[in-house]
């Protein structure tokens, strides 16, 4: 039976306006669910009293006919590297413990303006520099589909929080894949916007030239509600630009007839676990039955995409953390300390070549988008590995988990394109499989529209883990 927390954002908002339940009921349900699922270690802080007070105030507003917007009364969670006024933002670190946020990050302020209620902050890989959310300072987040499996990262707490339906949506940040990876492994939907489409003001940086903020939620439609509210130019972030996205309006037509879909030749369908390939091919077949044209697209010079991502993602954080590496090395977790120290020795010329390569890859993708509307890959070559697992075997070859995680997500991160992950099936162990939809520059709406169209024909996004 569907409960209050199984509703979509639009459904719960509609019920609030029909007075079927109150904002306090909704926020209380969220807080109760958070209490019931503490074994996930998805949260680092929960603002129960504050959230209930705001819920009461939002209910009074509704009673007086004041409607703040599509998120009025909707509880959401925020990754702990995004500032929430009057709370601590440690970015999952010991280094920043006690870091008090004087004001909201722009994304939080914009969501609140539309009526969202922040119920807590979610766990992440320390400083967002890793893919497991195995955090030595705030605990090891677990995957709700199987507690012995990884939830991915770095926004693993947000992925687990949404999958366990503790909230309707959560914010994540995505540099090399940190929204899409947990979306895929936890069976939820998440979008990373193009760089600059959403303000990074008040978000603790990982790698400045790659960082983005994006929502994870139960569906593409729910992600669109949040992204439309969050996006657009912000005077606090000079990298931000443009008008807010208009993704919801683009979803009014969910037909796929005429949609042009590309599969990257020699990339999208190779070196995958068999269940991932099956789910991917089944999705392609479904899209064709629904009227889309699917074709292979060759994009040249992609052989160094993961390497380029690693180099930029290594150098920029190391520059930022260098003083602390000298003065407080013991305050970092072992893996993040190694990442940050190793990044110090990359030659400047190689960093610049990686950034030149990124521009080249962006041009290659732009050419591809003359021929297709979106490009598809699996989000990951494999389903959730075991907690603490560092290697994985695919096609009889043993591979490193961290860099294998980024094999497909790097394709959007390196050129700075919008990309979404949405669930398209499960493997034999009941673990979710994700599809990555990559869009042209500034076409977040097109990415979300394809996701909504697919989710109008499938129910993978409505499956729930059998967590107690």
């Amino acid at each position: 039976m569907r409960g209050l927390l199984d509703l979509s954002v639009a459904e719960v908002a509609a019920g609030l306006r029909r007075r079927e339940y109150s904002v306090v009921d909704v926020v209380s349900a969220s807080l109760t669910r958070i209490e019931e699922t503490t074994e996930l270690a998805a949260y680092v802080d929960v603002y129960a009293d504050r959230a209930l007070k705001i819920a009461q105030a939002h209910q009074t507003l509704l009673g007086n006919g004041i409607d703040l917007g599509p998120l009025h009364g909707v509880p959401i969670a925020v990754k702990d590297n995004v500032d929430v006024e009057g709370t601590l933002t440690a970015a999952g670190s010991r280094i920043l413990q006690g870091n008090f946020s004087e004001e909201d990050a722009t994304v939080v302020a914009r969501l609140r303006k539309q009526g969202a209620i922040i119920v807590g902050t979610t766990n992440l890989h320390e400083f967002a520099w890793g893919g497991t959310t195995d955090n030595p300072h705030f605990g090891r987040t677990r995957n709700p589909w199987d507690l012995s499996r990884s939830p991915a990262g770095s926004s693993g707490g947000s992925g687990a929080a949404v999958a366990a339906r503790t909230v309707f949506a959560a914010l994540g940040t995505d540099t090399g894949g940190s929204v899409r990876l947990p979306a895929s492994m936890n069976g939820v939907t998440g979008i990373r916007p193009g760089i600059g489409r959403v303000s990074n003001a008040g978000v603790y940086p990982l790698a400045w030239s790659l960082d983005t903020v994006g929502p994870l939620a139960g569906s593409a439609q729910d992600c669109a509600v949040l992204l439309d509210a969050m996006s657009g130019r912000d005077a606090r972030d000079p990298q931000s630009y443009g008008h807010p996205t208009n993704s919801l309006a683009a979803m009014e037509d969910r037909g796929l007839r005429g949609a042009r879909i590309g599969v990257i030749s020699g990339v999208s369908r190779v070196q995958l676990q068999p269940a991932v390939l099956d789910a991917f091919d089944s999705t392609l077949a479904l899209l064709e039955r629904l009227g889309a044209s699917v074709r292979e697209i060759e994009i040249l010079d992609l052989e160094a995409v993961v390497d380029a991502l690693v180099i930029v993602d290594a150098v920029e954080p190391s520059a930022h953390h260098a003083p602390w590496l000298r003065s407080r090395p013991g305050d970092y977790g072992a893996d993040v300390r190694a990442n940050l120290e190793a990044g110090l020795v990359i030659p400047a010329v190689d960093y610049v070549q990686a950034q030149r390569y990124r521009a080249h890859v962006r041009r290659q993708f732009s050419d591809a988008f003359d021929q297709v509307d979106v490009l598809l890959t699996p989000t990951l070559p494999f389903t959730a590995p075991g907690v603490g697992q560092t290697t994985i075997t695919i096609d009889s070859a043993e591979r490193d988990v961290l860099t294998s995680l980024m094999r497909f997500t790097a394709l959007a991160s390196v050129p700075g394109l919008p990309a979404m992950s949405l669930p398209i099936g499960f493997d034999a162990d009941g673990l979710p499989i994700g599809l990555q939809v990559i869009g042209a520059p500034d076409d977040e709406a097109g990415v979300l529209r394809l996701g909504a169209a697919l989710q109008s024909q499938t129910d993978w996004h409505q499956r729930r883990p059998s967590l107690a």
């Binding site: 190793a342 020795v345 030659p347 070549q353 030149r356 390569y357």
Partner: protein, 63 residues
């Protein structure tokens, strides 16, 4: 680059080297990343026309 050369670079950056597991992890990772950097350099030198600039943080072509 061999491990001793990597250690020398790390020392130049003020990294505390104690000869333990943390040092070994950093050195091994740095060697892997230097190899990756060399691969990126080789591809970039091969495929990017001379004079093409890097991607910029502010991506002006989208404005």
């Amino acid at each position: 680059m061999d491990a001793q050369q990597v250690r020398g670079l790390l020392r130049e950056h003020g990294v505390h080297l104690d000869g333990g597991d943390a040092e070994t992890a950093t050195v091994v990772l740095a060697q892997d990343w230097l190899a990756r950097a060399a691969r990126v350099r080789a591809v970039a030198e091969r495929v990017i026309p001379a004079g093409e600039p890097p991607i910029t943080v502010v991506q002006g072509e989208d404005r």
